[in-house]
């Protein structure tokens, strides 16, 4: 029967691209190929994509209602954000989070636990980078579509984004946000291994992003001590950064630099986790 927490053994959950991706005579980097293949995969499943985007829209509508009511109750501004600004904040923050697959930590945990990762180790490419490239490919499509829908909705309801200059930076910031999120989840998958419960780990991770990442509410609403905690942790790079750039003023380009720095750290952590996982598999068998 099944193997406890990790689910049925056998085929892993990772649907990564094959390594040898020769395109038209040239050899494409396997990571680029994985990225493209993943993006293609998402587009070829319009039903799933539509569900995700519908979900995003519902949350957007709910939060739009909540924050407009909140702004109205406090005389038009909450922690320096106008009602329209809050709307933009939520649009971008949600999009950055919705872009990542909900079960990712669970899936990674399953693949590590069942040893499906072991088969990936046979290929002459890094298991981790291939996976990240692939996940980024999928997320990029979702992010683009969510931002498109969100922008259309919010522009119609609340007008143009308050911080024009910042809004331009928001796009690369959103990409960095998603990348950081993905890297962190791969690092967290290691925790899933120790807790023996990937679902619970993902659940808690998600709350950290929601709360300390500023997805649910801007960091400026936190009491001072909590705001300090949030700044020390990497979660703000995953939602707050692009949202703040879009909705807040003055523009803070240094956020992008900080995001990039955190991305490197998180990717490093993920690399350590995966290396440990691979070592474990080499020693203990798949």
């Amino acid at each position: 029967m099944t193997g406890g927490v990790w689910g049925p053994s056998g085929a892993g959950t990772f649907r990564g691209a094959p390594v040898s991706a020769a395109a038209g005579g040239h050899t494409v980097s396997p990571y680029a190929a994985a990225f493209a293949a993943a993006a293609g995969r998402v587009l070829r499943r319009p039903g799933e994509l539509a569900v995700r985007l519908l979900f995003y829209t519902v949350i957007l509508v709910v939060f739009a209602a909540l924050w407009s009511a909140a702004a109205a109750a406090t005389g038009g501004h909450v922690a320096g954000y106008s009602a329209a600004a809050l709307l933009w904040y939520v649009t971008v923050a949600e999009a950055a989070v919705v872009a990542t697959k909900p079960r990712l930590i669970e899936d990674i945990g399953v693949d590590i636990g069942t040893g499906a990762v072991a088969t990936e180790m046979l290929r002459p490419v890094s298991v981790l980078w291939l996976r990240l490239a692939s996940e980024l490919g999928e997320a990029a499509v979702r992010l683009a579509m969510a931002l498109a829908i969100g922008t259309a909705f919010t522009w119609a309801v609340g007008g143009a984004p308050p911080a024009r200059a910042g809004a331009l930076l928001a796009l690369p910031s959103a990409v960095l946000a998603v990348a950081a999120n993905l890297a962190a989840q791969h690092a967290f998958a290691g925790a899933a291994f120790w807790l023996s419960d990937a679902k619970a780990t993902w659940f808690l991770y998600q709350k950290l992003v929601f709360l300390l990442g500023g997805m649910l509410l801007p960091l400026q609403l936190f009491p001072a001590w909590l705001e300090r905690v949030a700044w020390v942790l990497p979660f703000w790079t995953m939602a707050y950064a692009p949202a703040r750039l879009t909705a807040g003023s003055p523009p803070q380009p240094w956020l992008l630099a900080a995001q990039a720095a955190w991305l490197v750290v998180l990717a490093g952590a993920a690399a350590v986790v995966f290396a440990a996982g691979e070592r474990h598999l080499e020693v203990a068998g798949g």
Partner: protein, 259 residues
């Protein structure tokens, strides 16, 4: 009519099963409790800077969340199969149940318990006790509200899941439906505009999960109570009808079952 004792016995076995893997039980229940705590923290932070929203203060929202947690604890924790009805049909579990001398819907509903969601069932009453000024009257109304809210929730997802018996699939429409229901029920009712609010009283009855119960506890009236009970009973009856209709179609082969 399947013996109530048999159904209770089945639910008891399901609880025993969830309890049997002690470690998993605590990990999952704790994760849920932490999750709920995070949401409470969110609301606390929200109201810290924003005094009230459309007549809702921190108190009401805590009451709302306590009711929500209790409702999800019952509807997704104790009766965890309700929202998985579509999957169960697709996997042939309905066939297995049809070979037993029991009422298929009742048995399916009590057959499995979700450990994680039981955490909600612990958190909800706790939050009520701590943050919602429990008096005997308020407590009784809270319990009543949670029970009727659960009845509406379960009925709703059962109706959606029953579609699988006729149209096939794995119950994805039920997933969407219940997620929408849950999201809408997680925020103060009066935050929503006219059209959405109307929807929440009809097509996606989220208002009856938290909004109306909160109102009942804070401003008791016999009319509200009667309305809530009416809606709860009505939705249960409707769910029964829809399920039986689906079952008739299923058994007469509207769906190509794996031969």
């Amino acid at each position: 009519m399947t013996d109530v004792r048999v159904l209770l016995g089945t639910m008891r076995t399901a609880v025993v099963e969830a309890w049997s893997n002690r470690r998993s039980f605590w990990v999952q229940a704790s994760a849920m409790i932490l999750n709920d705590a995070a949401w409470v923290a969110f609301w606390a932070l929200f109201f810290h800077k924003i005094g009230q929203v459309r007549g809702w203060r921190s108190d009401q929202v805590m009451l709302m969340f306590a009711i929500l947690a209790t409702v999800t604890g019952i509807s997704m924790g104790l009766l965890s199969n309700a929202r998985k009805l579509g999957q169960l049909v697709a996997d042939g579990q309905l066939d297995t149940v049809l070979t037993l001398p029991v009422d298929p819907l009742a048995y399916l509903l009590v057959r499995r318990v979700d450990t994680a969601l039981l955490g909600d069932l612990a958190f909800g009453p706790l939050l009520f006790a701590v943050a919602a000024h429990p008096t005997p009257q308020r407590t009784a109304l809270y319990v009543l509200g949670a029970l009727t809210g659960s009845a509406v929730f379960v009925s709703f997802v059962v109706m959606l899941g029953s579609v699988t018996m006729v149209a096939g699939g794995r119950g994805e429409q039920a997933d969407l439906g219940f997620q929408a229901l849950l999201i809408l029920a997680s925020y103060p009712l009066d935050v929503f505009g006219g059209l959405t609010k109307l929807m929440m009283f009809t097509v996606i009855p989220a208002a009856f999960l938290t909004g109306v119960p909160v109102h009942l506890v804070d401003h008791f009236s016999w009319a509200t109570l009667a309305a809530m009970l009416g809606v709860a009973v009505g939705s249960m009856l409707l769910a029964g009808v829809v399920f039986r209709a689906g079952l008739r179609r299923y058994r007469s082969g509207a769906l190509w079952t794996r031969a």
